[in-house]
Symmetry: C2
Subunit: 204 residues, 2 copies
DNA sequence: GGTAAAACAGACCGGTTGTCCTGTTTTGTC
DNA sequence: GACAAAACAGGACAACCGGTCTGTTTTACC
């Protein structure tokens, strides 16, 4: 029963947002009475906090963290996720946006508990990519590019691309941004640049 | 009077969002009676449409379009805007996010009129950067990088960085992403590059 | 300075929202 | 099978929301 409420809430929060999702609608959609809902989630805020902590975090984990960790490199992981998400969106024909971003925009200024919960997910997401790239570098690959910088850019590009994709209802911008991300190379400054590039070619 | 309402609405929509801004609050904050408000904006939706068309578009124009057009190059324009916004946010000590993005997330799935109005602003923004870079290229500068690709990435990176900055209440990620963007270089040409690219595509 | 339209005032209403409260049923445990 | 705790049912309610309505005042123009 608790799970049913969470399912419906997760879906409705993404499709309509937090404020536009009334508890009445959620109750009807989940087939749950007011008493039952209030038992598991005393307030609407508690419900949202649960959705963020249990569902949104899990979605990021499944969509991003796991594929990145499983990939051959950070770069490859980013490429894989962008491609997979773009393909999924194109197949389903509409774009509802990134659950994390959607809630982050609506809630992070409204309440500090919301904000820190969402910020934690963002931080973990970035750190996974950065750590992965650091591992790549100690393994001899991926010269020059700053891991934290790359991770921040990858997450920002994804989030921003999803915003535009949602607004234009067209996933094409995701592919555009991925191609742009592919062009992120270590800055060709000084003689070190040539060496780096050689290394990059080498390991492939 | 109409201007006063728009001022207050613009501010409240950015600080609290559309749904969380009640007309009662807006009336009180603007010192306007219900009748006056209803005279200028028959519905709340009409008010939001006016805010988007007159204020949000103008904000993007002033923050992005004008500086980019005035800059020596598209790249330089992007650099300038990122720096200026980061500096402004750091000075004021809090982050309310990008007005366009905030409303885009909350409204683009709710109503198609909202959606297309917001999508138009996004499109104009991207096109300005892309056109600027095309001009750079015909003037001999900026080789290799695809203008549309760069524009999409710049806008996405900015939007996404603002999302994270808003969620973490820290503008630092903006500077990180700018540094990442600086590393966007035309893909190295030559046999080595071609080989690498082939491998990358193959993996997908 | 008369007049029509626009601008504004302020009360009002139906509907909805989130929350709370009192019972009833189910579950787990000795 | 007694019994306490958790799970659930369902109504009640006070606050609030957006929208509408009827008047009054200001403005613009001939």
């Amino acid at each position: 029963m608790r799970r049913r409420v969470l399912d419906v809430a997760e879906d409705s929060f993404q499709a309509r947002g937090y404020h536009a999702s009334s508890l009445g609608d959620l109750m009807a959609a989940a087939g749950v009475t007011g008493g039952a809902l209030h038992h598991h989630f005393p307030t609407k805020k508690a419900l949202a906090l649960a959705v963020i902590g249990e569902r949104v975090a899990a979605a990021v984990e499944k969509t991003w963290i796991e594929p990145v960790l499983a990939a051959a490199s950070a770069r490859e992981g980013v490429r894989t996720v962008f491609g997979a998400v773009a393909a999924e969106l194109e197949q389903q024909g509409y774009v509802r946006g990134c659950p994390l971003n959607n809630l982050a925009h609506e809630l992070s200024l409204a309440d500090d508990e919301f904000r820190s919960a969402l910020a934690g997910i963002f931080a973990g997401w970035r750190q996974t990519i950065a750590d992965k790239m650091r591992a790549d570098q100690t393994n001899g690959g991926e010269g020059g590019v700053d891991p934290d910088r790359f991770a921040a850019l990858a997450v920002a590009a994804y989030s921003g691309a999803m915003s535009m994709a949602k607004t234009s209802q067209d996933a094409g911008v995701l592919r555009e941004c991925l191609k742009g991300l592919e062009s992120v190379q270590p800055p060709p400054s000084g003689p070190a640049a040539r060496r780096r590039r050689r290394v990059l070619v080498h390991i492939r």
